[in-house]
Amino acid sequence: MSIGQTFLGLLEATPRHGYELKRLYDERFGQGRPLHYGQVYSTLARLLKSGLVEVDGVEPGAGPERKRYAITTAGVTDVQRWLAQPEKPDIYLQNTLYAKVVLGLLTGRNAADILDIQRAEHLRLMRELTRRKADGDLADQLICDFALFHLEADLRWLELTTARLDHLAATLHDEAAPTPPTSPAPPTSPAPTDGRPPQHVPTQFSSQETT
């Protein structure tokens, strides 16, 4: 999550001090991982340098002076652009799992176990989130729901892949079979007769991995 743009969003209602931004961020979005003060002030310095915030006032205190930050017009535009932009769908997990399943099949391991272990882990996390939801306020519930729906989508993929393991194993076996040197190479899978393109198993979903 972008800390900078979240700060800008928090500043849009009213100017705030750095410590106040940290407290609001930790309460609403921290999920048990509070920001370090170093992150807070380096983020504010960057926003200041980019002209997205400005210093609204300086208050002397017992310790260092406390700066109050306000969002600029360019900052509001930046928040608006960020909010209107969809997040990149995260396919990292499926990509890794797909590789594990293929490697499991190629090395003669039980690929269903790989998927079942992942399913159990997903459900363990879902139980934890469901308990957290029961004890939390509405904000907790909404954040947990977001994670739960994503995990559920992963689980559907796991279930479907489990159902297709035999097919996948057969396809991989066909691809790995040595081709006789004197005959022309056969297609990796029989071409359908109804005009559809021949099926193949992709080597990966995407060359680009998200982190």
């Binding site: 079942d116 159990a120 997903h122 459900l123 029961a134 689980l155 489990t162 159902a163």
Partner: protein, 232 residues
């Protein structure tokens, strides 16, 4: 019957086989339920999970294998004994509430008690308490056709728990509900069952519903598959 111990499950289905015509529904399924736990039975459509629930609940007799409730084998019981067991010890929630349309919600919840010859006033007092716990006391005087699906399922949960069962069987209890109503039903069902100390056998294909359980069992091609734990 003796009380179940920590080592003895409350309910167990061992190596269950069941075939409908030439279609095998269960092919050696095994499942043990301990007192007070909530277990999700998961699996794709046609995997055999509902047949497993019906066998465990004594609704369907398996072709082979045994179902034990505490220290008794269900197939050794007469039909009357199994009916009495289902009425006294088990509660049921199905996908579509299956409430009696001619009765009010209060009368529906009181019905299992009335069948057990509890006097009307007492049965309705206990039914009203359960409707309040399930947050549907406002529909007590209405008939099932006059209330929403979510309210109907909560009435069905109240009816399942009013007899203080040891096991509640829930077959896709949120299958006909939207996400928000499904969530309310699951929260109330599991809270009420935990408070009452009842075990729940929850059949579902929805992971978010299964996440309300303490553990899950997967049924695949009529066989159960215990959770495979990741190495730690």
């Amino acid at each position: 019957m003796t009380e179940p111990t920590e080592k003895q499950p409350l309910l167990a289905g061992i190596e269950l086989h069941k075939t409908y015509g030439s279609t095998p529904a269960l092919d050696g399924a095994t499942l043990r339920i301990w007192a007070g736990e909530i277990v999700a039975v998961m699996g794709a459509s046609g995997s055999g999970k509902s047949t497993l629930l019906h066998c465990l609940a004594g609704i369907v007799r398996p072709d082979a294998g045994e179902v034990r409730y505490r220290d008794r084998e269900l197939s050794a019981m007469s039909d009357a004994e199994r009916s009495a067991l289902r009425r006294g010890e088990f509660g049921f929630v199905f996908q579509f509430g299956q409430l009696v349309p001619e009765l009010t919600c209060l009368e529906n919840v009181a019905l299992p008690l009335r069948l057990d010859r509890v006097r009307r006033r007492e049965a309705e007092r206990r039914a009203a308490e359960w409707l309040t716990r399930l947050e549907v006391d406002d529909v007590a005087g209405q008939r099932p056709g006059e209330i929403s699906g979510g309210q109907g399922q909560r009435v069905a949960v109240a009816r399942a728990l009013v007899t203080a069962p040891r096991v509640v069987f829930a077959d896709e209890p949120t299958g006909a509900l939207d996400s928000l109503n499904g969530e309310q039903v699951m929260r109330l069902l599991t809270e009420a069952a935990r408070q009452a100390g009842a075990a729940v056998v929850l059949v579902t294909h929805e992971p978010r519903v299964a996440a309300y359980a303490d553990r899950e069992i997967v049924v695949r091609d009529g066989r159960t598959r215990e959770t495979v734990l990741a190495p730690r």
